[in-house]
């Protein structure tokens, strides 16, 4: 979700508009809580702000505002608050916020944005509550607030040796004026007691005990269940159907036809069976007889896409994203020119928890319980799709069984709401079965690259161009299919040309973990591995030359795009530092080592370099070891979780290259129905992974995504080295 695109899609504009409102919402939020008199929350607790309530036993309830998808925010955000509130982590109880933009501002899980957007605001939220507690103590004790200190949930007046637990002051603190943000004294990072220490997920004990936490676990009194059937060809419309056999199945309540619902740019028709059991609803779906109108969408197939890309490469790109100097002239006079074509497939998100949503229409109000990465937008889209006033829709966010970007689309919320409207007063839980979950995904766009690079007589990279054939509509690339104007290494050479041609298709597109970057890293870093070879160098050493002196490289601003979504400046020094660190960790040699590959990428404000070693084990290519060096700023907020995020990204990288992940399309139909055809990495392919984080003097940024792109590149380059044959198309299939 970086702003590395030439045009904003509708979704991004919605996110963007809301994001611009962020920042300023925190003080507002605390004002509301204070204005409401901070009513006790439960029998013996006092609410000081939307984020902090303190119980009589000095237990601190901290609200985590963003959805938890396994990225660890349910520990990370409360850690920031607890640190500045100055309480012991053991006394903290974490609560998940409902979707409420007026109180919490932005609440989405995407773009690795939770950390950069909340590092200061959440610390300020903790410091605000602390200041209010201190102010209350100062009043009660008749001493200046400046003479008071705090420690582990207690206010202390050293001179008179008085101490009071926060609990004794919380009710009074709630009535204190909310201090100005500028007046807050934030801790010196050297004194952090929680930030930077390993913290377990607050839900871990409940997960291990099998407690109901996830969307699929929602149970409401009188609840019924729904399953969905959609057309084999994505986007086909429903001509007619016969539900008699399905309705005859005992337990089936209703069959509902849904028309043109879901996403604006990929609406679907569907039949929903409502029954007293999900299993019954699912069985009944198999008895539905439906006729669909493909509307010509069955012409779309991988073969047609490849043919269209080939035709596009025969001509000029339809759009120029960025052009500097004269790349044709530079290539013409280069000592060496390297040219190659790269391609990669559509990918699915395949969250292990299938898309689901529980909805109830009652007394003119719609209530949703949903694992959504972007619940406030989902709420608005549901209201719009069903013609409801937004204030009549409320959304509770459950724990989420994997996101990876799939749940940034809200189609399943709209389906559930539309079904619930047909059974007024009755709660209904919609769960997609695995086949529908694959059919209704918004796929990581496939892509094709024609790449040319020029080297001068000394082996220096002097020219770089790509013609990128991507997917979208009406000449505009779809979600995750954009070509950024700051593509490395084009942004570092004098003569460059970034051109793009967009193919139309019926394949709905969506952001997948490190969108854009997870594919572009492969195409550019694998190609650059070839270019480095032509220059007689290994890739990391060649990269250090391309990066040059430490400096900030700012891409040109994209007209009409607000600052927050402008492509960020790229620091060559931070890139070189992680490259050097990965070389050092792995004992990188000047000469190529068979089976060893390197990849670097900058995305989501994070700099990562990866070295992968691979070998043939029992006839199959296996990654045997990975080394990761990363720079996400000054602080690793929760090292316990950071290690998991990076390992997960490495293993996902292995999946993109050698596990065989791809979603083929034929006759407009998704050719993957279940995990047997989508072989995600399992425990037996997992190598040891060494991690080293380079600390730089920058505010901390997110970790859910930026380690993935270079992992894809490093594994691809390792396989090329091992097999002695360049991997130019993913997945590697031998």
């Amino acid at each position: 979700m970086r702003a590395d695109m030439t045009a904003l899609s509708t979704d991004r504009r919605v996110v963007l508009k809301a994001m611009l409102a962020a920042g300023g919402t925190l003080a507002f939020d605390i004002q509301i809580a204070a204005a409401q008199g901070a009513k006790p929350n439960g029998a013996a607790s006092a609410r000081i702000s939307a984020y902090v309530a303190i119980a009589a036993d000095n237990t601190v309830s901290i609200t985590s505002k963003n959805p938890e998808i396994g990225q660890g925010v349910k520990a990370m955000l409360p850690m920031l608050i607890a640190e500045e509130l100055d309480v012991a982590w053991a006394s903290v109880k974490v609560e998940q916020a409902v979707a409420d933009q007026s109180r919490f501002g932005e609440q989405f899980a995407g773009g690795s944005m939770t950390t950069p957007m909340n590092w200061m605001p959440m610390r300020q939220a903790g410091a605000t509550a602390r200041a209010m507690i201190v102010a209350a103590a100062a009043k009660q004790w008749g001493v200046p607030a400046a003479e008071l200190s705090t420690s582990a949930g207690e206010v202390i007046h050293a001179a008179t040796k008085r101490r009071a637990p926060y609990a004794a002051l919380a009710a009074a603190a709630a009535k204190e004026a909310v201090p100005d943000v500028a007046s807050l004294n934030l801790k010196d990072p050297a004194t952090f007691a929680i930030i930077g220490k390993p913290v377990r997920g607050p839900d871990t004990p409940a997960i291990v005990a099998g407690k109901p936490l996830f969307g699929v676990d929602a149970v409401l009194p009188g609840m019924v269940h729904a399953a969905l059937l959609t057309a084999p060809v994505r986007g086909a419309t429903l001509k007619s159907h016969d539900a008699a056999k399905a309705l005859a199945l005992p337990g089936v309540r209703k069959v509902v036809a849904l028309r043109q619902l879901g996403h604006d740019d990929a609406p679907v028709d569907a039949l929903a069976v409502v029954a007293d059991s999900w299993w019954t609803a699912s069985e009944a779906c198999k008895l539905l007889v439906a006729q669909w109108d493909n509307g010509g969408r069955d012409k779309h197939s991988d073969a047609a896409f490849a043919g269209a890309a080939k035709a596009a490469f025969a001509g000029k790109p339809a759009t120029s994203v960025r052009k500097e100097g004269d790349v044709d002239a530079a290539l013409a006079k280069a000592a060496k020119v390297v040219s190659a074509q790269y391609s990669y497939p559509f990918l699915a998100h395949a969250t292990l928890e299938p898309q689901n949503c529980t909805a109830q229409f009652k007394d003119g109000k719609l209530e949703l319980w949903v694992p959504s990465q972007i619940p406030n937008e989902g709420k608005d889209l549901v209201a719009k799709a069903l013609g409801l006033a937004p204030e009549t829709v409320s959304v509770s966010v459950t724990r989420i069984g994997g996101g990876f970007g799939r749940r940034l689309q809200s189609d399943f919320m709209i389906f559930a709401a539309a079904i619930a409207r047909e059974v007024p007063g009755v709660p209904v839980k919609l769960i997609l079965d695995r086949e529908e979950d694959f059919k209704l995904d918004f796929f990581r766009p496939a892509g094709f690259h024609k790449l040319d690079a020029g080297l001068d007589a000394s082996g220096k990279l002097v020219a770089f161009s790509t013609h990128f054939v991507t997917f979208g509509a009406k000449g505009q690339p779809g979600r995750g299919g954009e070509l950024p104007n700051d593509l490395v290494p084009a942004n570092l050479v004098p003569d460059m040309d970034l051109g793009m041609t967009v193919l139309d298709s019926n394949v709905p597109l969506g952001w997948l973990r490190a969108p854009g970057s997870n594919a572009l890293a492969f195409a550019t870093q694998a190609f650059l591995d070839e270019v480095a070879g032509a220059a007689g160098k290994t890739l990391p050493i060649f990269m250090l030359g391309v990066l040059g002196a430490p400096r900030l490289v700012s891409p040109p601003k994209i007209p009409g795009v607000p600052d927050i979504w402008q492509p960020p400046a790229f620091h060559t020094g931070r890139a070189a530092a992680v490259t050097l660190e990965a070389m050092k960790m792995s004992g990188w040699k000047d000469e190529p080592v068979k089976g060893r590959g390197f990849g670097f990428y900058f995305s989501h404000l994070g700099y990562f370099a990866v070295v992968a070693d691979c070998a043939q084990v029992d006839g199959a290519v296996r990654v045997t070891k990975m080394y990761v060096a990363g720079d996400i700023g000054s602080t690793i907020i929760n090292p316990m979780n950071a290690e998991q995020q990076i390992r997960g990204a490495m293993i996902e990288g292995i999946g993109h290259v050698i596990s065989g992940l791809k979603v083929p399309f034929a006759n407009g139909q998704v050719q993957v129905a279940n995990f047997d055809a989508y072989p995600l990495p399992r425990i037996d392919v997992v190598p040891p992974i060494a991690i080293s984080m380079v600390r730089s003097d920058n505010p901390p940024t997110g970790l859910g995504e930026p380690a993935l792109p270079p992992a894809v590149a490093a594994v691809a380059n390792a396989v090329s080295s091992l097999m002695g044959k360049r991997v130019r198309s993913l997945p590697y299939e031998g």
């Binding site: 997920g201 871990t204 149970v219 699912s282 292990l352 979780n641 998991q644 995020q645 425990i683």
Partner: protein
């Protein structure tokens, strides 16, 4: 037709079609929401429970195939010595990321350790390869199994 099941040591009666998968009987009819639906085809392992101590995929096991076998779910697994050790190791090492697959992972791990108290890496890989973790918490799964087995953390 009523069917008698024994879940986590407690006899339970259900009146559902015999071909209804055990997963959905547990989740919908008996209120055990720990076992999860992932694929409906025995491919991901999220629904793993024990039948007489053997790890099975409850999403493809009709209840008429259960007979009088003792069913253990994640909710009851910590009642055994091995189950308790595994659960504690899982919390101690903070294995879950999203957490959705973990009930199934723990059930497979407990079945492994009941049969093989000192598994090698290869034993662990072979016993756990049927359980998908989309977040890829596999390193900590290995570590937790070894910790529960009483060994040291190799990685």
């Amino acid at each position: 037709m009523p069917t008698m099941l024994k879940v986590n040591g407690t006899p339970r009666e259900v009146n559902v079609p015999g071909e209804k998968p055990l997963l959905w009987v547990l989740r919908e009819d008996l209120g055990y929401l720990g076992p999860k639906f992932g694929c409906g085809a025995g491919l991901c392992g999220a629904c793993t429970v024990h039948l007489d101590g053997q790890a099975i995929r409850s999403c493809i096991t009709p209840i008429n195939a259960v007979g009088d076998a003792a069913i253990t779910t994640i909710e009851g697994v910590a009642a055994s010595v091995v189950g308790k050790k595994v659960s504690e190791a899982w919390v101690d090492l903070d294995v879950p990321q999203c957490g959705y697959c973990q009930a199934g992972q723990i059930m497979s791990a407990v079945a492994l350790l009941e049969a093989n108290p000192s598994p090698s890496d290869a034993d662990i890989d072979s016993a756990m390869a049927g359980n998908l973790c989309r977040c890829s918490t596999y390193h900590r799964i290995r570590d937790a199994i070894k910790q529960a087995a009483g060994g040291t953390n190799a990685r």
